[in-house]
Symmetry: C2
Subunit: 308 residues, 2 copies
């Protein structure tokens, strides 16, 4: 166990790798682009079972692991089995008895994950068998886990974390529209409207960074990056003073000047702007020849700059 643990700890960014491979696995099985789903609770039984296989595959690729002789992986010369759960504990088949297991779990609702190593033995398992003739790791057995990541932060599931009324408003934005790109555009507009940063007494607030998966799930169509670009147009969010910043061109500089989070590639932040009044002490950006600040919630919407 010490050698396998040392191997994992020898990977720079080990925790980040686990966080990202668990996020990726969950997102792929949700398949939000096709299904509009963002909540693992909506997966059917077959999909929940498959999620464990997906995690095994994605972890193998992420860490470049070889196949074991009897178990899933060969790590530092040792056979190691992969086990994933989104429930309370891991269920262990009898073939794993005596072997090391890489146990991984993720709770997308709490935004947390954990990863550890355990050697399977009778005294770490519950007495009872489930219907698949597997035994869960017991509460006492959990004490024997060597933790690699004990309280990891899962990359945010934006849709899951929104207030119910915001989420409903986003998915209902296209009600009554049928076919064409319109429906996806209306939902994307509503998404960036609902997660736009504005000025609060404590500074920029009320907004959320939006990732690519979220736009795919909301747009539910092939060309969701185009839906994001089009949302900036005057006829969509532009007339409400809302800008959407990505990672290219002047966007990072604008985000930095306004005190907003900086979007990576495939991420966006939206913000509602207002013209900077004389003597306004807030951070200002100059766009299209005019000076803008973050709008307060109470500000009457005014058009955003046409170019930025």
């Amino acid at each position: 166990m010490a050698e396998v643990a040392a191997w994992f700890r020898g990977n720079s960014d080990m925790e980040k790798h686990f966080a990202s491979l668990l996020r990726q696995s969950i997102d792929e099985v949700l398949d939000g682009q096709r299904t509009g789903r963002f909540d693992v609770k909506k997966l059917d039984k077959t999909e929940k079972t498959y999620l464990g296989t997906k995690v095994e595959i994605v972890a193998r690729a992420a860490f470049g692991l070889g196949y074991g002789r009897a178990m899933d992986y060969d790590i530092a010369g040792h056979d190691v089995d992969a086990k994933f759960t989104s429930e309370r504990t891991w269920t262990i088949p009898k073939e794993a008895m005596g072997h090391l297991c890489l146990v991984m779990s993720a709770n997308d609702h709490r935004g947390r994950f954990e990863v550890g190593l355990i050697r399977i033995a009778d005294n770490v398992l519950r007495a009872g068998y489930n219907q698949d003739k597997k035994r869960g790791i017991s509460a006492q057995g959990r004490q024997a886990i060597h933790w690699l990541v004990s309280n990891g932060v899962l990359p945010a599931n934006v849709l899951l974390s929104l207030r119910d009324e915001d989420r409903k408003a986003i998915f209902r934005a296209s009600d009554g529209y049928r076919g064409g790109g319109n429906g996806g555009q209306l939902r994307i507009n509503e998404l960036f409207r609902r997660v736009a940063f504005h000025r609060t007494p404590e500074g920029p607030g009320g907004g959320r960074m939006v990732d690519r998966t979220t736009t795919l799930t909301v747009a539910s169509q092939q060309d969701s990056p185009k839906r994001v670009r089009d949302a900036r147009l005057p006829q969509h969010l532009g007339r409400e003073g809302i800008i959407i910043l990505g990672h290219q061109g002047r966007h990072p500089e604008i985000a930095r000047n306004l005190g907003l989070p900086l979007p990576d590639k495939g991420s966006w932040v939206s913000a509602r702007l207002a013209s900077a009044a004389e003597g306004n002490a807030d951070p200002v950006v100059q766009l299209d020849g005019r000076r803008y600040v973050l709008a307060r919630e109470s500000d009457v919407p005014a058009p955003a700059p046409a170019e930025y």
Copy 2:
């Protein structure tokens, strides 16, 4: 059944849609980019079960189907359940009794698929139950299927269709190489070497169109399009006279002039060229100021044009 069948037949390119959604579903579950797999027989039990769910999801998205009241889909106002098999027959849960089923099957080894509609009743099912308490559609029941596609051609699985020795040569091309982009490059080189068109007595032959999934599976890394571009370089396939044509620039014209299949976006054909000798009556292309024809297998390899 007539109304649901009519709805499907009202979709232009219905057969092409089914062919492509079945190919897509199989390829996604194989996950060749991460696993190097191209054969559904290598899927584990969990993945085979999940493949049915994936087909249900991809078909819903491909045809823009709504959810049924009790069954998977609402089609033309009727509840329709989706059933997929890569085996001989479909297994039907008792909830589907009395309902219409869209039955789909695909055999990637034979390159064929079928799609039909059947109303589930006692007399179309086998007497015995399987361990999941489901019953198979019987040989007699099969007679009751209304076929939408009875002998469809599945888009080719290039790796599955190659001779065993070619396939082995491709995957072994990187043996002994570790890390970096080198391994993937060597396998991609060997792929395009093995599927290159050349001149045969009957015209251009011996080659295969290569699709994107095949390059992802062979390269098993993120940037497989770059591996394809680099394979053209003199230090890789260029010095052997092998060119790789895509869908852009002069490539379609070159393919047409040489009598090769025309690659769509995300597809490639490779071909081995030789300098056109005086009086050669074969189709000729002028590249980089020189005249080339398809090489015969017996021709000594000579460098391909540097630019094309």
